[in-house]
Symmetry: C2
Subunit: 340 residues, 2 copies
DNA sequence: ATGAAAGCGCTAACAT
DNA sequence: ATGTTAGCGCTTTCAT
């Protein structure tokens, strides 16, 4: 394994010159640079990451804090990881997966003080998240995916739930629907103040008013069974119902199954729009789900870019970037057929 | 940020003593150790990962080579990543995600010679995989998830496809099925020599013989549409068909949809067993899919353990560990009802 | 059982 | 534009 000293000797220059060729932090004459580069190539030289990190106090690695609950990651999360990883690589950084939940404060403290990571991406952010407090205290640069209660002084990248709900409702209204339901996350998460649940509930109300249509919000579990119950309840509470928005993919599939068994035709009797859904899952359903596709990979890339920017600038001001889900019309939404 | 020198001074010992307390590579009297530990605690000392890595030539990080194709990772892969990450953490290691496909030789070369990673886990291994050749040449320790054509001298951890297929067929036979189809991966992947496709095809033939039943193998695309076509073809070629094994989850859902539309009752008319399927996806279907659940997270953990073992022992002998998928009977398999 | 000291391979002042 | 050199914070011989 050739070292920088080897390269310097071979190129007939000093080690610092070699170093500066690598980092580009001071002007080097073309002739010298060429000689150095040639020497590197001849020796198959690769800088030692550890030595670099030690001397520069930068590892060029960012950590992705992701609670690994045992159950699988959804497609959205996966896409996020992918997007973040790619964006990091393009900037010459590496991405390290760190299974750190809100409760593993010690783990995180160790990670952050080890100086192995230059900064953090924090996934699955809770409204009140201890990881945030800790990272702040330790003065580690970080970017949140999602938002805490009070985002002052934080950098957040999140789905634009307001916009997403509004776009979904607008899609149904445009098709001629006048009574729609919104099947939200569970009552429990709503009560616990889970951000997306609360924000979408409010956005739904607002959208109903804006579009002057009626509708009901039904919280339910994020399961197929939950979806089944929710659609039954929704139809009871609002018999004229012709459209439904669903927050959770599993619930969406449950709704399709329930409607089918009730002898109703999707999309002609009832349209279903799934929110924050990945393409894969949407295609699993039949008919394929009309959905608001979550910008998973774009979110990951955006978050990474924000973090790297902050690392470079030493910037720590409040920042917020919201990306809406994009409507993909597939087979479960249509103009409702006239009743009777 | 306290350094080892600070700790040494505070404890009234030399730096080397502090170091040995940390690494445990030489005996320390209890009294001294206690003083050192106390000093560390008082100073909130955390060893600097970079300095450690530079001096010891070990980063305590392993890389996970995972081609990020843009499309989402399946639940099995996700579980694998989770399992590997957890296992690494338990052993005091970190896991770094490296988006490196078979074609990114340069990327991999850089990664491996940078000395940032102690070893590699290689996912989505091709029958002939250039990453394997490269890692071997660079003498980087690594473990494959999957198998190459010739596994001599390699460490592999993989799904036991033979066992899995046999278990699935046995399940159907035991229920009384006498004519079953196997819906495999696409003809293209079969032709290209994709390992799992070839191995399961062979295992299916063997299982048919062993159980003295008839059956057909139908290759198809890994999509719902592919599944639909496949089941039509299978029923044409084998009208007495009462059971079907499916290799791909999407195809499995397509098959269910097609059968339903053809007016057939699952599982009473036709049983469906999905292979290498995750629980989440199985539950998405209605009825929930009887499936051979892939040991994703166990695979990840096993692979990590093998790699760490090799790092510790400097061992490089051939090694193979196969884990079967586990049968989970859900709603799509049953004793076939008598025809006519 | 403990200490002293020589690196590990690089970056970044400080020189010229 | 280039060279010299003092660290970065730790591990690990070599001593005692």
């Amino acid at each position: 394994m050739a070292t920088m000293t080897d390269v310097a000797r071979r190129a007939g220059v000093s080690v610092s010159t070699v170093s500066y060729v690598l980092t580009g932090t001071r002007p080097i004459s073309d002739a010298t640079r060429d000689r150095v580069l040639a020497a590197m190539a001849e020796l198959d030289y690769q800088p030692n990451a550890m030595a670099r990190g030690l001397a520069s106090r930068r590892s060029n690695i960012i950590g992705l804090l992701l609670p690994l609950t045992g159950r699988a990651l959804g497609a959205t999360e996966t896409a996020f990881v992918t997007g973040a990883t790619e964006a990091a690589r393009e900037a010459g950084y590496h991405l390290m997966l760190c299974p750190v939940g809100t409760d593993d404060s010690d783990e995180l403290q160790t990670l952050a003080t080890q100086r192995l990571l230059d900064g953090f991406l924090v996934m699955e952010v809770q409204l009140s998240d201890r990881r945030v407090d800790l990272l702040r205290k330790l003065e580690s640069p970080f970017v949140l995916i999602g938002r805490t209660e009070d985002p002052t002084g934080l950098a957040c990248v999140d789905i634009d739930f307001d916009q997403t709900v509004d776009d979904a409702v607008a899609h149904l209204v445009q098709l001629g629907h006048e009574a729609v339901a919104y099947v939200n996350h569970s009552a429990a998460s709503l009560a616990s103040g889970y951000g997306p649940a609360k924000r979408t509930a409010a956005a739904f109300e607002a959208a109903l008013r804006r579009h002057r249509i009626t509708g009901v919000m039904v919280p339910t579990d994020d399961t197929a069974t939950g979806g089944r119950q929710a659609i039954r309840e929704a139809r009871e509470r609002c018999p004229r119902l012709t459209g439904v928005l669903v927050m959770n993919e599993n619930a969406a599939l449950g709704i399709l199954a329930e409607l089918r068994e009730a002898g109703l035709d999707v999309p002609w009797d009832i349209s279903v729009v799934s929110m924050v859904t990945s393409e894969v899952v949407a295609d699993l359903a039949s008919p394929a789900l009309t959905a608001m596709t979550s910008p998973g990979s774009a979110l990951g890339a955006a978050a990474t870019r924000v973090l790297l920017k902050r690392l470079a600038d030493g910037d720590g001001t409040t920042y917020e970037e919201l990306l809406p889900c994009v409507l993909e019309v597939r087979g479960t939404s249509a103009r409702p057929r006239k009743k009777k």
